[in-house]
Subunit: 359 residues, 4 copies
């Protein structure tokens, strides 16, 4: 039983809906238990620069549903990665963090974020920092937990987009391509595509060929369907490009611009070449997937994770990540969670898609 | 390995968003596997009356997101309940069902519904009917599975309503009471209340007293909050009425009408008597909770359940219910699932609510 | 050309989505023009009690879409109404307002609200207060303008509710009754009912009889429709009660409670007596209609109204209300606008409903 | 008073939410008046090929809110445009249409669409076709009416997207660019940008320079805002490209693809060159703007337009377009409406944007 009096909270990396719900739960769980809570501004940056703010019940009122993070976020990392070996070395910022925590009497730290943010929390353990991680990323690619905060909200954006496209798609002879997030894993693409009724789903888990896509579109044309909807993850890998993501290929347009449009536009151009009687149109959801109101699922998950993180801190469970295992919230070692990143989509969904006729 | 050629599908009881997604998945899973699918109209009614319709891929196109059920539903029950003993006796409708299935060569049956519908499926087993159940009810009170189809969509309606009320509540000195579904279990009230940030949640799981509610409201007034939001399940049980639901008390108004307004209006009237400086206003969500577009979570669940039900049929697993156990879809004996109905909300949510300061 | 340096803003009466958009537009229009803006807290209360807050560009950042009002609201009225004659007499609060405005050098006042709030603004004119009104009420019953702020957002709530009910309604044999706001005018009921495809619409504009409603339901049954949806305004007037609203009849239930449930429950009970094979279910939207995010239409209207109110102040146009006339924003005398309240729904919508077969 | 017995309906061009509401209103208005209604499939194609379907009350039940068009659409045009003179010459399809109408005894035609579809209706008048037009285009660029069907639904999509982006934008140092529809007019960009609180709006109405945009972003940085949101219409015209839209410049990427990404990506690349400490991210809404559920505003407009079109047919008013003038639905000559296309956004909105500090 740790004798914790003050807990620090920080939110790092890309934000997603549900973070504020977690912060709120932390404060609402901690305060009645006699714990103080302080927030670090802009992720690890506030811990480095001693920019901490007290968090009381009033500060977290009315934020349950709001996307983003009231604490701000950044990509500040107190460790440096060796480009060759991949090993991380502490920088002087680690000492600054230790000083801040000591000066402010912050005895435990709750870090909310993706693998970068959680990785810092884990690497600080040998330096004496007692941290609990909360997984948060719309990409859902953190291992050790069924779901991370933010994923279900991103899923809702993609599903809603596909619903919209369905209503207009069958008025025209079109193939509508929707580019979604997911550099390393296809959670958004595959589960979003299934929930939104996509005809073709292209994700990092399995390379695809343009020819296969053409065949799938042709099969639908043969079956009398006037349109098709393709969901493609930004990290999808065409065999035509050596099974590497499209974005890694340096492309420059006629203005000398690097071509920013990604795999969605690439695929559209390839399909146009193929000569099917379907005009491609590309929608790029981009940051829409990070924004908006958190879904109930994310709010419940975040509320449970936030409360559990406080309880683990009180119980002296550190260097762990709060995780959902089925219906239960448990603690898993951060080392274990991080070792499995990026977590790919498993066969229960890949097989499901194939078995119900989605390419 | 059962040698099934034709599967029947029916949807019974109160409908909820996600049923159509399950029907679609059944057809899309069965057809490529060489199975025929027929639908029974209006639940068990179609099986009794031999009102079956063929279901092809074209019939389930475009229905993934749509609430309700393309097959219709009813409360037809081929068994009769003995009011004293609670035992069920087959009526002549059971024979009619057996004849229909034989005549139409329906070798396996997938029944989508709540405990009534699934109960019929189970009681038909000794009569030689090979059935797989899919749990569907916004109330989420079917045992043996983490979630039933429809619950997450109802949750979204309640959460959205609470969000709306929050924006207007703090402009006024009001207590806003939201009456939600849940006669026997408080899944919608408790998880919806948590996701929507309710200040007070009243559910069948624990009787409440009006005095307690007043105290909770007073505490918020003392803390300077101008409003409070109460979520109350229709089956919530005030100790003032002997811990029985309000609706069981026969009430008649000045017109000789039975008073249809339930616990929400009852509580509002009691709070007005208490004299707090907060005017109560009642919202009754009623059938809104059954309607609308299925959420992505429900569509994924329904798609997984539908595909799995076909697979269980093919594998000869009968008298079972498709169930979600954590991230996995499994088969549980129908007897076991039904024995645990109505499944109450567990301590992981009841404690969570208390621990973060919700009454 | 008035030489105004400081403008006061206040929001009174029931709130609605779009108020914040108007406050934002006022500040964003005034500041670059060299004007100061102060807000009065809780409607006229802040002007009476000298509770004013400065409003800068930072204060109105991020509030465009948020329902409610950042300034709060109240029903404080510095005039007293003679119950017999209906005439208004100033109370001592009028002097307090005049002192506050003088002390704080507030040279012009923008009052955002319904007929109560705008009425005060108008009655203050003879006392030397230079005010511009902005019409705001979900009821849309202010004369002189096509639309008031908030109406379109309430319309969206009702329409969305009717969409939800449609998906579930036709699975059952039900008549779904939706009680909406509208004590004196049926804007929400009639336009909401039209937009949501209601089968029967009952509004204050025309008394209805229960018999007529039964006939309409029977006609739909005869045409093979399994359900009907009724929208009823809280101020709808059954001929059976002398064409007076249901709520005016004192009703007490078996607990000695005044029966708070209004016309929706009353109608449900009457229809049950009639014995149609349709079970009535009642949804009471209540404060949902005031809450939530403002629709684009309300945000645009509020932004235009806010900017125009500043411009009218600069031009020395007082004792007027900002109004929408077709595509144009104009100034109408407050006296004229108030004289026409409550503005009923016109024949262009009443006839439309009848002509397309809505009762 | 025309003695019309049978009305034909067709929907042409790009679809948008609200078309089905108009079709429904036409049938519901015509049937009780003793008129027959037939629909032409896929716009003018069905009239050419004699592919007409009867439309009864049952056919339009349940379609009020659904996007797309139950009749389908196409770009079939029975006239040919002279590329040099711009003059239109009838093709043999005109005769086919005349024969179809005669054979099927279709005495009046209601054409729902944009300037192309309405243009055909107008050019058929000298051939004896009695047509009434209903303006429908998300672009809202048809003259003679305040609004066309579909515009408000597209507006809602853009506004919702901007709301989402706002929640995530201020967690990061980003400039979020949203590319919206609008080749010739900026209705979606300007009204959507205003409703969604964009910081910079770029529309076809006024050429822009990249330098101006940079300055606007820098001003926000100077004011301490960490992010900016830019809405850019696909037809926006940078002075750097001779005030021509970006899409007209032939661009090829490193794969030999024509670069399909439009002005959004072009602007992002230009801003990256400028070296502001803001990373640009591009969202392309594309066909999302055409899809989804029609807003209440569009449903009411479409319902009014549909009913009025039937009434004009009955009254013998042909070669006219149904139009909204303020609160009133009127008939304007098709010639007049078409002459003013594309209708630009007027100063009431352009000035408003400037006056409240939007670039």
């Amino acid at each position: 039983m740790a004798d914790v009096k003050r807990i620090g909270v920080l939110t790092g990396g890309g934000d997603s809906p549900g973070i504020n719900a977690a912060i709120r739960a932390i404060v609402r769980r901690a305060k009645p238990a006699g714990l103080d809570v302080v927030g670090s501004r802009d992720g690890w940056w506030g811990a480095v620069e001693d920019d901490l703010v007290p968090l009381g019940l009033g500060d977290v009122a009315g934020i349950l549903h709001i996307g983003g993070t009231i604490l701000g976020t950044s990509r500040t990392n107190p460790f440096q990665k060796n480009a060759d070996t991949g090993a991380w070395t502490p920088t002087s910022k680690v000492d600054q963090i230790l000083e801040t925590l000591k000066r402010r009497q912050v005895e435990a730290l709750i870090a909310i974020g993706g693998d970068d943010t959680l990785g810092v929390a884990h690497r600080l353990a040998p330096h004496g920092v007692r941290a609990v991680g909360i997984p948060q990323t719309i990409d859902n690619d953190i291992a050790g937990t069924d779901y991370a905060i933010g994923f279900h909200s991103a899923l809702a954006v993609v599903t809603d987009a596909l619903d919209r496209l369905h209503t207009t798609a069958h008025a025209h002879h079109r193939v509508l391509i929707v580019e979604v997030m997911g550099r390393d894993a296809g959670w958004i693409a595959i589960l979003g595509g299934l929930a939104g009724g996509a005809d073709v789903i292209l994700a990092p888990e399995e390379p695809f060929s343009v020819g296969e896509v053409e065949e799938a579109l042709q099969r639908r044309l043969d079956a009398g369907r006037r349109f098709s909807i393709i969901v493609v993850a930004e990290g999808a890998r065409p065999v035509e490009l050596g099974s590497r993501p499209v974005a890694t290929e340096g492309r420059v347009d006629a203005f000398g611009h690097p071509q920013l449009g990604g795999v969605g536009y690439w695929l559209a151009a390839e399909l146009e070449k193929a000569g099917l009687p379907l005009t491609p149109r590309v929608t790029v959801l981009s940051y829409l997937q990070r924004g908006g109101v958190a879904t109930p699922t994310d709010r419940l998950l975040a509320t449970r994770f936030g409360a559990a993180a406080v309880e683990f801190s009180q119980d002296g469970q550190y260097d762990v990540m709060v995780a959902l295992h089925g219906p239960t919230v448990v603690a898993v070692p951060l080392a274990e969670a991080l070792a499995g990143c990026p977590k790919p989509v498993g066969p229960e969904f890949l097989d499901l898609a194939r078995n119900i006729g989605v390419r």
